[in-house]
C-alpha cells in the first residue's frame, strides 16, 4: 500500500517517468555516498513495484491484496574488498545508513582479485548505446489500472468454468488473478545508469477432483505482458479441470528402465539444471557436472540451445545484465556442443575468461533443432512414461545424479494409457542430455526457458516391486 506522500496507483502507472526519476535520484545519492565514504567503485539497484491480486474460492472472494514495494541494494568495493547492504526503507537517513553498513563490511572482508565492476570498456559500450538513444523497445510495458473488483470478477468466472467443466471436479483451492508493474534503475560508478520497466498479468486456477480412490489436485495458469494477452478465464478454468480429472485413478508402475518423456513444465526444469551446471558459481566452486566440459558434446548434435535476451515481449527480456553489460543473442549449446558458460563479470574473472553478459542469469533460452509433433513423440516412446510433475530436491549438480518423485501417465503402444503416481525417476543428468532422443513442437513460450516436451531414451523408474 502507498507510503505517505507517494503517488497514487493511477499516477504511478500513468507516469512511470516520475517514479523512475525518484529512483534515479536515490541511486545517485547512494553512489555519491559510497564514493565520499572511500569506495573506489560501487554499484546500486533500486526498484519500485506495484501489485494487485484477487483470490477467490468457491465463488467467494478469499483475499484482496494491494502491495507497493521499494528496495535498494548497494555493493561497494574498496581496494578489492567488497560489502553489500540492502533496505526496503528508502528514507534518506536509512539509505545513508545502508551505504555506511556496506562500507563497514568492506573494511572487514578480505581482498578478492576478481571483485569489482565489469570492465570499463564493456560498461562504456553500454553507456554509448544508451546515449545514442537507439535502444530497441523490448515491448514489456503495458500498464492498465485494473481494479481489485475487476480482478476478482475474472477469477470467479475462471473458477466457475473449471467447477462446471466436469462432474468429477469436487472442490477448489481457488482461482487468482493478479498484475504487477515494476520499475528499476541500476547504476555504477563507471557511469552506467540503466532503466527497466515491465508489466505482468497472471491468472491461475487450482481444482480438486475426486473419485472413489481419493482426491487429486492440478492447475492451469497463464501470464502475459498485456492484460489482453491472457487466455480467456473460461479456457484457463476448463484446462485446470481437464488436467485435474485426468489424474484420477492414478496407480504405480513396476520398477525398471524405460524411455521417459518430460512434458514442457518439467522439461523446462531439466534445462534449468543444465544452465545451473554451466553457470560460473557452480564452476568456480568445482561443483558442476559440466566442469571442463567446454567444447564437449553435451547433447545429440541435432539440438542447440539459443539465448535471445532482447526478444520483444519475452518473459526474461533485458537490454543489460545485472553488471550493466549489453546482452546479445548467442548459443549456449551449438549443435550438441557446449559453446560457452553462463558468466557474470565476477565469475568470468574467477575462471580467467570474459563475461557472457549473464549477470543475473540466462534470458529467454529456447531449444532449437528438429521438433517432433506430440503424436509422433508418443509413437516413438512406444511403451514408457510421460512425466507431468516432479517433486523434491533430488538433483545433485556436483555429479549430475538425478532422482525425483514423479507423477504422470503410462504410455502403451504409443498412446496415453492411464495416470501414474507415487513413483520415482532416476538417472544422471550428463547421460540424460546425451540420451535426448527427441524434442516436441509443443513449445511453451510463457517461460524464460522455452521448450516443448523432451524425450530421454532411458531412465530407471521405481514403483512397485
Amino acid at each position: 500500500m502507498a507510503t505517505s506522500g507517494s503517488l497514487t496507483v493511477a499516477e504511478w502507472l500513468a507516469n512511470p517517468e516520475r517514479e523512475t526519476e525518484t529512483l534515479n535520484a536515490i541511486a545517485r545519492r547512494a553512489l555519491d555516498q559510497a564514493s565520499d565514504g572511500g569506495a573506489d567503485q560501487a554499484e546500486v539497484s533500486v526498484s519500485s513495484s506495484l501489485a494487485r491480486e484477487a483470490g477467490v474460492r468457491l465463488g467467494e472472494i478469499e483475499h484482496l491484496e494491494e502491495a507497493r514495494d521499494r528496495g535498494l541494494r548497494v555493493t561497494v568495493y574498496a581496494g578489492q574488498c567488497s560489502g553489500t547492504a540492502s533496505t526496503g526503507d528508502l528514507r534518506p537517513e536509512v539509505i545513508d545508513e545502508c551505504v555506511q553498513r556496506a562500507l563497514d563490511i568492506a573494511r572487514h572482508t578480505q581482498r578478492d582479485r576478481a571483485a569489482g565492476l565489469a570492465d570499463a570498456a564493456l560498461i562504456s559500450e553500454s553507456v554509448q548505446e544508451i546515449t545514442r538513444g537507439e535502444l530497441p523497445d523490448l515491448d514489456l510495458w503495458h500498464p492498465e489500472d485494473i481494479s481489485l473488483d475487476a480482478l476478482a470478477e475474472r477469477a470467479i468466472t475462471m473458477e466457475r468454468a473449471g467447477l462446471q467443466a466436469d462432474s468429477r471436479v469436487a472442490n477448489s483451492e481457488g482461482g487468482s488473478v493478479s498484475f504487477e508493474a515494476s520499475l528499476s534503475v541500476q547504476g555504477n560508478t563507471n557511469g552506467f545508469m540503466g532503466q527497466r520497466r515491465s508489466t505482468s498479468f497472471s491468472q491461475s486456477c487450482v481444482l480438486i477432483g475426486e473419485d472413489e480412490q481419493g482426491m487429486q489436485r492440478d492447475y492451469d495458469w497463464d501470464s502475459a505482458r498485456r492484460f489482453s494477452g491472457l487466455s480467456s478465464p473460461d479456457e484457463t478454468g476448463a484446462q485446470a479441470a481437464e488436467r485435474t480429472v485426468r489424474r484420477l485413478g492414478a496407480k504405480r508402475v513396476p520398477t525398471g528402465p524405460v524411455p521417459v518423456l518430460f512434458a514442457p513444465p518439467v522439461a523446462k526444469g531439466l534445462l534449468g539444471h543444465l544452465i545451473s551446471a554451466a553457470s560460473g558459481g557452480s564452476l568456480y566452486r568445482r561443483s558442476s557436472f559440466l566442469l571442463d566440459a567446454l567444447g564437449e558434446s553435451v547433447m545429440p548434435e541435432q539440438f542447440s540451445l539459443i539465448e535471445s535476451p532482447r526478444q520483444p515481449g519475452g518473459p526474461g527480456s533485458a537490454l543489460f545484465d545485472a553488471d550493466g553489460v549489453a546482452t546479445r543473442e548467442q548459443p549456449l549449446v551449438d549443435r550438441g556442443t557446449l559453446a560457452r558458460y553462463v558468466l557474470s563479470a565476477y565469475s568470468a574473472r574467477r575462471l580467467g575468461t570474459e563475461t557472457t553478459a549473464n549477470a543475473g542469469g540466462i534470458r529467454n533460452l529456447r531449444i532449437d533443432g528438429p521438433l517432433t509433433p506430440c503424436d509422433k513423440l508418443l509413437a516413438q516412446v512406444g511403451t514408457g512414461l510421460l512425466v507431468t510433475e516432479v517433486m523434491g530436491q533430488g538433483v545433485n549438480l556436483v555429479n549430475g545424479d538425478y532422482s525425483r518423485g514423479a507423477a504422470g501417465f503410462w504410455i502403451e503402444d504409443g498412446e496415453i494409457a492411464w495416470p501414474v503416481e507415487e513413483i520415482t525417476v532416476a538417472g544422471n543428468l550428463r547421460k540424460m542430455f546425451l540420451g535426448l532422443s527427441a524434442a516436441g513442437d509443443d513449445t511453451d513460450p510463457r517461460n524464460n526457458i522455452q521448450t516443448g516436451s523432451l524425450l530421454i531414451d532411458r531412465m530407471t523408474v521405481a514403483g512397485q516391486g
Binding site: M1, T3, S4, R57, E60, I61, L64, E65, E66, A67, D69, R70, S82, G83, T84, A85, S86, G88, D89, L90, R91, E97, C98, R101, A102, D104, I105, A106, R107, H108, T109, Q110, R111, N171, G214, R217, T255, Y284, R286, S287, M391, G392, Q393, G394, N396, V398, N399, D401, S403, R404, G405, A407, E422, I423, T424, A426, N428, A462, G463, G465
Partner: protein, 476 residues
C-alpha cells in the same frame, strides 16, 4: 518483552496506543469480523567464506506494518513500509475494501499479554565485532582443510537476525516479541580421482551469535561435513524399488513434516482439500506413533514465544498412539472451524498474510534400541541424512531426498549408497512403522519450510524408525 518490542518499533515513529486503537477502530467496523495491525522490524547480517577468504558480507534492514481486515472467509490486505499515521490509515482503508459496508467500530485493546520467556532478547547483529566473525570463518576453513587432504572447497556462512514484532487486533489482542535467530553452515567438496562429492553440516537457533562461535559448537559441525563428503566418495548406486527403510534419528524427521505435518494444517482441512480432511479420531499411524508440534521448546529455531497473531505458542498433539487427534490452527481457520487457535499462525514478514504453519514437529520416543531395529532388517536401506522434501497435500504423496544412506542386509549395515529420493503416501506411511527407537533427537537447527511462497524457520525430530515398505528411487 512487549515493552522492548514497543520501544524498538513504535517509539522512534511517534505512534502511540491511541493512534493504534483509532486505526483498528477505522478498520474493524461494519461487516469486518476482525482487524489487525502487525508491526515488524528485522535486521539481518551475514558473512561468507569461500576459496579460503571471507569475500562477502551483507546487511539488510526491513520494516513496515501489515494491515488486514477479515469479513467471513475473505481477507483484505495491504501494507506500508513506512510506520507513520497517514501510511497506516491508507493501508487500513485499502484492507477494509474487502467489506462494502463502511462504518466505524470502537476498539479498545486489552493490556499487553505477558510474553513467555522462551529465548533471550539479544540482538545478534549488534553483538561482538565484525573482525571476530571474519576470524572465526578463517579458523573453521583452516580446521576443515586440516581434516582430510582430499578437501578441495570449503564454504562457511554465518548469519544472524534480530526481529521485533508488535501485534494489535480488534479482538483486543496486544502483544509483542523480540526474536533472535543465528545460524552457521559448513559445506565441503572432496575430490578423489574423478569423483567429487559434497558434505554439509550446520546448525543454529534462537540464541547469541557467540554461542555458535565456540569450538565446542563448530568443530563437531566441521567434522560432520567432512565425514559426509568422505562417505559419499565411497557411495555405490542406490537400489530402485519398494523396500524396508530405516530412518535415523533427528533431521530425518523431515518425513513427519512432509508426510503428516502439512496435511494437518488448519487451512487445508477447513477447505477439505487435505488427504487428512475429516479424519479426526481415525487411526492413521501404528499405535507406537505419537507426534507433536511444539513451539514452546527453549532456544529452538522453530520455537516462538507468541505466534505472529499474538497467540502464545503451544504444544499440539497431532497423532496420539496412532490416532489423529489435532490440527494446527491460526485465528481465521480456528474461527471458521469452531475451534481454538493453537499458536501456529505464522507469516514470513509484514508483507505476507499469516497462515497455519508448523513450529518444531517431532515424534516421541518408543521402546526399541536402535541397534535392534537395524538388526531386524533382512534387506533394505538405512537413511541417516536428507536434503529436504515436498508434499502434495491433496493426493498425500510426499518425497524426501536422502543425502547419506547405506544398504542393509541380514541385519548388517553395508556400503554407503548414493543420494536417492524416497516417495510414499502420507496417510498410510506411518501405518507401516514397524519399530520406534528410544533415541529421540531434534535436528541441529537448519530447517526452512516453504508454503505458498512464504519461508519460515522450523524444526523437526524423531527417534530411529523402521518403515516396512517405502519406494526408493535409485538407479538399479
Amino acid at each position: 518483552m512487549f515493552e522492548l518490542a514497543r520501544s524498538q518499533l513504535l517509539d522512534p515513529t511517534g505512534l502511540d496506543q491511541s493512534d493504534i486503537e483509532s486505526t483498528i477502530s477505522r478498520l474493524a467496523g461494519g461487516a469486518v469480523d476482525f482487524g489487525e495491525l502487525y508491526f515488524q522490524r528485522r535486521v539481518r547480517e551475514a558473512w561468507s567464506l569461500e576459496d579460503g577468504a571471507v569475500k562477502n558480507g551483507s546487511w539488510d534492514v526491513d520494516q513496515g506494518v501489515g494491515v488486514r481486515a477479515i469479513a467471513g472467509a475473505g481477507t483484505g490486505f495491504a501494507y506500508a513500509d513506512a510506520i507513520t499515521l497517514p501510511a497506516l490509515i491508507d493501508a487500513a482503508d485499502s484492507a477494509r475494501a474487502i467489506s462494502r459496508q463502511v462504518s466505524q467500530g470502537q476498539v479498545r485493546l486489552a493490556p499487553a499479554i505477558q510474553t513467555p520467556e522462551r529465548y533471550i532478547s539479544v540482538d545478534p547483529t549488534s553483538e561482538g565485532r565484525s573482525a571476530d566473525r571474519v576470524e572465526l570463518l578463517r579458523t573453521i576453513d583452516a580446521y576443515v582443510r586440516s581434516l582430510d587432504a582430499r578437501v578441495s572447497q570449503v564454504s562457511v556462512n554465518i548469519a544472524g537476525s534480530h526481529e521485533a514484532i508488535l501485534i494489535a487486533a480488534s479482538d483486543g489482542t496486544l502483544a509483542g516479541d523480540v526474536r533472535p535467530l543465528v545460524r552457521l553452515d559448513i559445506r565441503v567438496l572432496m575430490e578423489d580421482g574423478d569423483r567429487r562429492e559434497q558434505g554439509f553440516s550446520g546448525g543454529g537457533g534462537r540464541y547469541r551469535l557467540s554461542d555458535l562461535m565456540t569450538a565446542d559448537f563448530w568443530q563437531p559441525q566441521a567434522r560432520e561435513a567432512v565425514r559426509q563428503a568422505e562417505v559419499n566418495l565411497r557411495a555405490e548406486d542406490a537400489p530402485a524399488g519398494h523396500m524396508t527403510v530405516v530412518l535415523g534419528p533427528g533431521w530425518p524427521g523431515v518425513l513427519l513434516h512432509e508426510a503428516i505435518g502439512h496435511g494437518l494444517e488448519g487451512d487445508f482441512n477447513r477447505k477439505g482439500i487435505s488427504a487428512f480432511s475429516n479424519r479426526l479420531g481415525e487411526a492413521v499411524a501404528s499405535p507406537e506413533c505419537t507426534i507433536v508440534d511444539d513451539g514452546t521448546l527453549a532456544d529452538r529455531r522453530g520455537s516462538l514465544a507468541i505466534d505472529d497473531e499474538g497467540t502464545p505458542a503451544g504444544s499440539t498433539t497431532l497423532i496420539e498412539n496412532g490416532k489423529l487427534v489435532g490440527y494446527m490452527q491460526d485465528k481465521l481457520n480456528a474461527r471458521l472451524m469452531g475451534v481454538e487457535p493453537t499458536g501456529n499462525g505464522r507469516r514470513e514478514s509484514f508483507a505476507h498474510l499469516p497462515m497455519p504453519r508448523m513450529t518444531n514437529t517431532y515424534m516421541l520416543p518408543g521402546q526399541h534400541d536402535p541397534g535392534d531395529i537395524l538388526a531386524s532388517v533382512e534387506d533394505g536401506i538405512y537413511a541417516v541424512n536428507f536434503n529436504g522434501g515436498q508434499v502434495d497435500i491433496t493426493s498425500g504423496k510426499f518425497v524426501f531426498a536422502a543425502s547419506e544412506a547405506y544398504r542393509v542386509k541380514n541385519g548388517k549395515v553395508g556400503a554407503p549408497i548414493k543420494g536417492a529420493t524416497l516417495i510414499g503416501n502420507g496417510p498410510d506411511v506411518l501405518t507401516r512403522v514397524g519399530m520406534v527407537g528410544n533415541d529421540l533427537a531434534l535436528d541441529n537447527g537448519v530447517g526452512v519450510c516453504g508454503k505458498e511462497g512464504q519461508s519460515v524457520p522450523v524444526g523437526v525430530g524423531q527417534p530411529t524408525l523402521r518403515i516396512d515398505g517405502l519406494t526408493v528411487g535409485g538407479t538399479h
